[in-house]
Symmetry: C2
Subunit: 336 residues, 2 copies
DNA sequence: TAAAATAATGAAAGCCTTTACATGGTCGTA
DNA sequence: TACGACCATGTAAAGGCTTTCATTATTTTA
């Protein structure tokens, strides 16, 4: 079953079939209708590989993420896919597992499949690999950490807006010793969140006891362990802010293990607003990162670049995403 | 940059380059080395589309899931991908969003890309779509619900083992009014879990008050609402078993909302053992479904089928997966 | 030592589309 | 009426790889 069979049945050439399928204007309505009927009758669909080979375009966008197991990503992936389907684009998902070797494999996969563009949602990316894309004029969009290269778009997150809102919320509740559990400091996104928190608390002249700062790993166990260290240090925080929700959940566990209550003894704030955070005990107050908006912005950047004939000459889109504070039950008045 | 350039540089024909890349035995070690050096020097990698077009094989396995946002799937996807990478296969992930229309699109995508095999991890699948695959001799593997077709493999879950273990655990703790919150009854997997629970409790002559049974939706909110209905019904269960962990988490929330404690007033058991269940408050006792094992079994079934020349003639592998009970803190002695 | 078997390699066809270019027909205009 | 413009369609090359078959060189066998 191939385009030839369709052409034969519709009594036209393969070129006309191809043109019909691709919506080229150069086909008369009657012919087009005949071709469509033939396609229907034969239940034909074109071979994607041959298409990509013939045209050089693949209708594929790559989506590189660190780890699908991290609850931050599935929603992002889903939103990205949903909008892609709407535009007739397909999505090739690749996990790097935070491993530079694996990242290389991902990049190669994208290149080999002749993707039309790539959304890179991991924070660390080798410049040499970016080279590989830009040399081939493949549009890129980054989350948060775009290199200053023409044709490369970026979706930025206004970290300070979200974190300021969280800190202000805590201050209003009377907190003045706010601990912070960071993500792994080798991740740019984690460093950003840390830096923004420090700035925000410094601005408000809060206690900056270094014992209040611990490094986690953006997973539950890291948050748990970090919180234990903070509690053991004797720093006595009245509230904790975590670099992501998983960390916050771990911290809540450690607080409960120590016989303390959230929020009566210690308030907890997370970051990301993963689905689950609404259902923890107590439901988590957290900074919501609009993942659907991020996915849409990323997709649109690639889509526009794809439409313009010389993507690498256009400057690349910049989109700023504004996180918002979602107040639930894990924060309450400070009790000293 | 194509195979011709490599051939030229290595002073061989393109056929030899192709053979070298594919590990064909018919290349002398010296020639192979020369070719490899040329590939290295030119930083060449072959066009996947051309490869698939030329050979008819794509080195692609499809993986159809319902919803990447459901925490059951990410781990499955990850494990599947990991083992695929190990075997040099790639994975094309497709979400159906529980939507038959979308399922059709997924199937078409797979067909168009000439996948070497498809793992179908959703429980509902139109027979006509299966036809599409088997007509083209594309190996399939199902989770749980394989149609009786030659060449179709299946990874089965021994539901009764897991649920019996959970029920026995509760009985030993003195429970005799065990509620059950099912998944959506239109899903075969949910019906299986329900059926197995009913059999298990009937065998043990437990209270079979229909008020103890409610339908959820396999999400947190459904578990929450179902639990509220059970509590409102006056059936006074001493324990609840949920069809999956999200449902259990929702149920725990509803129990807390009602001013009751887990496990002191009501014990809760989940199903799946998603990562998060270890970190709920209290940590959830649940039936663990070994997702890595499922993924491996599924992959292997496809892989073996791919290796054998006539996949549809071999009977299809059957693999039984045994869930196990993980006892954490959400279950305790019944207090009436 | 000649014939046969084996091994390594090359030439070229084939996979299925897309698309540049060619062709023939229709229309409008001078 | 004739010529160019334009439209719909067809022809055939191109895209990058795999693979069959043919060819040559080498080894084995009798």
């Amino acid at each position: 079953m191939n385009i030839k069979a369709v052409a034969k049945r519709a009594k036209v050439s393969t070129a006309t079939v191809s043109r019909t399928m691709n919506g080229s204007a150069k086909v008369s309505p009657e012919t087009a209708e005949r071709v469509r009927q033939a396609i229907e009758a034969l239940n034909f669909y074109p071979d994607t590989n041959a298409r990509a080979l013939g045209s050089g375009r693949s209708n594929l966008f790559g989506l590189i993420i660190s780890d699908i197991t991290n609850p931050f990503f599935p929603e992002l992936v889903k939103s990205f896919e949903d909008i892609a389907v709407l535009h007739g684009q397909e999505v090739l998902i690749a996990n790097t597992n935070y491993d530079p070797e694996r990242m290389k494999i991902c990049v190669r996969r994208m290149l080999q499949r002749k993707v039309d563009g790539v959304a890179i949602m991991t924070s660390e990316m080798d410049d040499r690999l970016i080279e590989d894309f830009s040399r081939r004029h493949i549009p890129l969009v980054f989350l948060d950490t775009a290199p200053p290269v023409p044709g490369v778009s970026c979706v930025r997150i206004d970290y300070s807006a979200g974190i300021d809102a969280a800190v202000n919320h805590l201050i209003k509740l009377g907190h003045n010793r706010i601990a912070f559990i960071s993500g792994p400091m080798r991740l740019a996104s984690a460093r950003m969140r840390y830096k923004t928190f420090m700035e925000s608390t410094a601005r408000d002249h809060l206690d900056d006891n270094p014992k209040l700062i611990e490094e986690g790993n953006h997973r539950v166990d890291g948050g748990h362990d970090a919180m234990q260290r903070i509690l053991a240090s004797g720093a006595r925080p009245t509230a904790v802010m975590a670099s992501n929700d998983l960390t916050a959940i771990g911290a809540m566990g450690a607080i409960a293990d120590a016989g303390l209550r959230v929020p009566e003894d210690i308030s907890v704030v997370g970051y990301d607003d993963i689905q689950l955070s609404a259902f923890t005990m107590p439901p988590l107050t957290t900074v919501s990162l609009p993942r659907a908006e991020i996915a849409n912005a990323a997709f649109n950047a690639l889509w526009h670049a794809k439409q313009s004939e010389e993507p690498t000459l256009v400057p690349g889109e910049q989109h700023m995403v504004l996180p918002t504070l979602v107040i639930r039950k894990s924060t309450g008045h400070a009790t000293q």
